[in-house]
Symmetry: C2
Subunit: 205 residues, 2 copies
Amino acid sequence: MTDETPDHDNARHHEKMAKKKAARAKIMAGKTIEKGLLIVHTGKGKGKSTAAFGMVFRCVGHGMKSGVIQFVKGAWATGERTVLEKFPDLVTIKAMGEGFTWETQDRERDIAHSRAAWEEAKKMIADPDYKMVLLDELNIVLRYDYLPLEEVLEVLRNKPEGKHVVVTGRNAKDELIEVADLVTEMEQVKHPFRSGVKAQAGIEF
Amino acid sequence: MTDETPDHDNARHHEKMAKKKAARAKIMAGKTIEKGLLIVHTGKGKGKSTAAFGMVFRCVGHGMKSGVIQFVKGAWATGERTVLEKFPDLVTIKAMGEGFTWETQDRERDIAHSRAAWEEAKKMIADPDYKMVLLDELNIVLRYDYLPLEEVLEVLRNKPEGKHVVVTGRNAKDELIEVADLVTEMEQVKHPFRSGVKAQAGIEF
């Protein structure tokens, strides 16, 4: 998986790395814009919500206030939640959904919950106190057409400057990827569930 | 990006979702094994370390002790660190590296630091107090051959049962992927650095 061969000789290594450093410095010097980002974590692999909550923890570390809307209840690890709840001044968590759509089996109720969650999301996005808003598993809601895509995109396109919004969930809509600033696809290379291993504390929840 | 068409009619939706729930329950019932996992986060996209630290936060939430060895100093977000340091009984952090290899430009010193970090890592892996050990950016060290791959694999293959070990960094060695239980490749779909946006608090650090 290496894309260039590392150099084993110290002098050559030094020269090569000095060049790499200079190249990086030049690139970084061109990056001067600060702006609120629309970030999407999608794909079938693990880590979509975990990495998003990792950003919420980063915000906590910087004293920046974050809001979390959980569109699908039960999707979210209890371990992280326990820790985040220790910082009530910096993190607001709203668990709005009632479980995955294959758990509830009631499309009308899912739509009502999605609507309520989205109304809370819009308030947080508009509220200047929040530097980051995490819309956890919104992609699932959009994928089942529980909210009108265009309405959601409209809000995200016009979010206040400087506000970071993170959207997670597999099957991100192409139109969302189109408007996003940063999109990462978590791809599953190998998964232990295939060999009968169950979900475990610290890993899955 | 949808892989099946959602159903708009409530009755049909219910039936379809009930089937999906039953199928999932059957799959989950077969998953009974609890074991310590070797987890690898690789790829060029974002979220590799963030998701790994997210798992450390999960462990904190469950009262499980974690150890973190940071093989490359400066690679790690200060935001997360500030929060994790609030749980000294549950998280031990050892920052062993001195910066990316293109920053230090000194191969011999990088090798010495990698060796010292690895010795600490081995102690944590052997110590039954730690339920999870995060070897952050170990892939970079392996990629530059700063540690003998076979020596590292030997320890990972023979880690105590029940212990989770998480390895991050791009360019994971194929041999490591081979022994791992769970491998996720974070793939970069879209990145704002391309349009001149700089690294920002809460996002990159």
